[in-house]
């Protein structure tokens, strides 16, 4: 993947997977997200960029209701997935999180075997009726995570014994094991070296075929390399949202331009 891809990147009209309207997020008194409205497309990698503390993670965590686990956090506005309000009363956030997978900044495998790491999600959601089926799910997920060849002979070893890059791909495999439709990634490469980063980026591009991927990143190059859509956040506002190519070559807002050229951040 080199920068050539940017030129040939053309976003064809795709279906809207998640649509957020007038989303506000408060941490107690802090107004962390202000009036954010955005449409996230299916089979697309969407990058969230912006200076530290601008609310990228906060907004990302609204999409799978991870913010529900923070006592002081309050979310207002409307977020719909496939046309259904995910904050509706009858929606079970636990079920939602199986549908909207999440990968975190720091690789965080469970201190269990590689197999159990991946099998955990399918197990608690009852996706497999027997061991053979579970084995199949685990293998498929590990293949999706592009880590199968490296770990297939040591599935019983602890996931924490892998290298950082392998751990992160294991976490991606764990996230896809529950057959999600959307994959949220919060700075998935920030703890990785360039080679592992390249592997994960390649993987993200692969994943786009089946999922809608949202990735938070601090690296402009990474956003440019992997994403088709980019959203720029600043101080809790969504400043600009558009095709990655446009945002990077021809930003409309002066703030976006300053950030991309490295003058704020």
């Amino acid at each position: 993947m080199n920068d050539m891809t940017r030129l040939e990147r053309k976003v064809d009209q795709k279906t809207i997977k998640i649509s957020a309207r007038d989303v506000q997020v408060f941490y107690g008194e802090t107004h962390a997200i202000k009036d954010v409205s955005v449409d996230i497309l299916d089979n697309t990698v969407t990058a969230f960029i912006g200076p530290s503390g601008c609310g990228k993670s906060t907004f990302l965590r609204c999409l799978n209701r991870m913010n529900d686990t923070i006592d002081i956090c309050r979310v207002e506005g409307k977020i719909e997935m496939d046309g259904a309000d995910i904050y509706a009363k009858r929606v079970d956030p636990v079920q939602l999180r199986a549908q909207v997978g999440m990968v975190f900044q720091k690789p965080n495998p469970f201190p269990k075997s590689i197999y159990d790491n991946v099998a955990y999600g399918p197990r608690i959601h009852g996706l497999a009726s027997n061991k053979a089926e579970l084995d199949e799910i685990v293998e498929k997920a590990l293949r999706r995570g592009a880590i199968w060849d490296e770990v297939k002979d040591r599935l019983d070893e602890p996931g924490t014994g892998l290298s950082g890059g392998q751990q992160q791909r294991l976490c991606i495999a764990r996230a896809v094991a529950t057959a999600p439709e959307v994959l949220l990634m919060d700075e998935p490469c920030s703890a990785l070296d360039p080679i592992a980063t390249a592997q994960v980026e390649e993987l993200i591009d692969e994943l786009r075929r089946d999922y809608s991927v949202v990735i938070v990143t601090h690296s402009m190059q990474q956003a440019a390399r992997v994403s088709q859509k980019t959203a720029f956040f600043h101080l809790g506002n969504l400043v600009e949202y558009g095709d990655t190519g446009d945002i990077f070559t021809n930003p409309e807002d002066p703030r976006t331009e300053s950030y991309i050229t490295g003058r704020i951040g």
Binding site: P51, G53, C54, N64, M66, T69, D71, V94, Q95, L96, R97, A98, Q99, G101, M102, V103, F104, K106, N108, P109, F110, P111, Y120, G121, I124, H125, P158, T160, C171, R174, A175, A177, T178, L235, R255, S258, R263, I264, G265
Partner: protein, 435 residues
Amino acid sequence: MTDMQAERGDTSATLRINWSDPAIGARLARRKRRQFWLKGLGLAAISVAFAMLFILVGSLLSTGYQAFRQTHVAMEVRLDPAHIRADNPARGNFRAIVGEAVANLFPEIEDRADLRSATGIVSNGAQFIIRDRVVENPDLIGQTIRVEVPVSDNYDQLAKGLLDRDTPEEHRRLKDDEIARFDQLAEAGLISKPLNTALLTNADSRFPELAGLKGALLGSFYALMTCFLLAFPVGIGAAIYLEEFAPKNRISDLIEININNLAAVPSVVFGLLALAVFLGWFGLPRSAPFVGGMTLALMTLPTIIIATRAALKAVPPSIREAALGVGASRQQVVFGHVLPLAMPGILTGTIIGLAQALGETAPLLLIGMNAFITSAPETPFSSATALPTQIFIWADSPERGFVSRTSAAILVLLGFLIAMNALAIFLRSKFERKW
């Protein structure tokens, strides 16, 4: 981020340090001096602590080691059928049998008073030892058997060199003729000093040579088990609720403060509480290890809750997020991920809490576990003592033999405490967090 055009610092102006400046040298010297003193004080503190420990254990060992041996005398005992009925051997006149056996040791004694005094060499418990042998094997009736029985306390002290032969006779607890008789037995090779197994296999007794810790050990065991079974689940449950599920508000803050304060309440207060509630209202039996365990559980509970909460808090949030992220419910996160990871910390805290409970004396005194009980408890509801209260009783007893036995009992207690703490350290290092 208020200023969008953040100033880029001028990187050409680097910090210049003039290393030859005397002020720098002075600062360095001062810092080194401070460090030297800090280190010295630390070492001194540790040395003092070690010296204290050394003195404590040393003094216990120097008096206590005597209690691990017990002087015995070997006798030929004729189990005269005239004194024992075969159909009910337990009711035999074993006192007479012992008297005859002693008379056989000293055939030259004619005087009845002298004979009675000679019988005093043998422990009062000898008759029961012989009785137990006969009850176990009634075929022995009519035979002559050789038994080794403990000598009574004063002679035990004499054999161990704790009774000074040079003190004037009127100030000595054994008269000249008594000592002479004992020496006569020693010369005949009938006196031995085997390991004092009675210390662990006998219950308490008025006679030091017969007194043992079995009752106290069992009492402490029952009490600790009760304490563990009550405090462990309740403590963990409370800690999980407070840490993971309770809303963070005034009430939970208040509860938290109270639990922390509870851990600092003097144990005697818990004893008073137990006396009023368990014995007074509920009418539970006095001196029962079960009630002791309930009292100790009250004391151990805050320790376990605090340790458990700390262990739960120490589980990295990334693990919780990971589990939540794949769609685990709150309960699944807590019981499937957080609790297993916190378990080593919880167990360590629990063991240390139990070790504390094992050494606790005051609350047990208040619920009557310092009673004089000569049989080991059969159930947690029978009367018993515990190790620390037994030490208390023995330390209070006038007989000389209890001096060394008190030290020995303290050594046994310390042994258990060290073993429990070692287990806690072992668990901690074995399950050192692996993430």
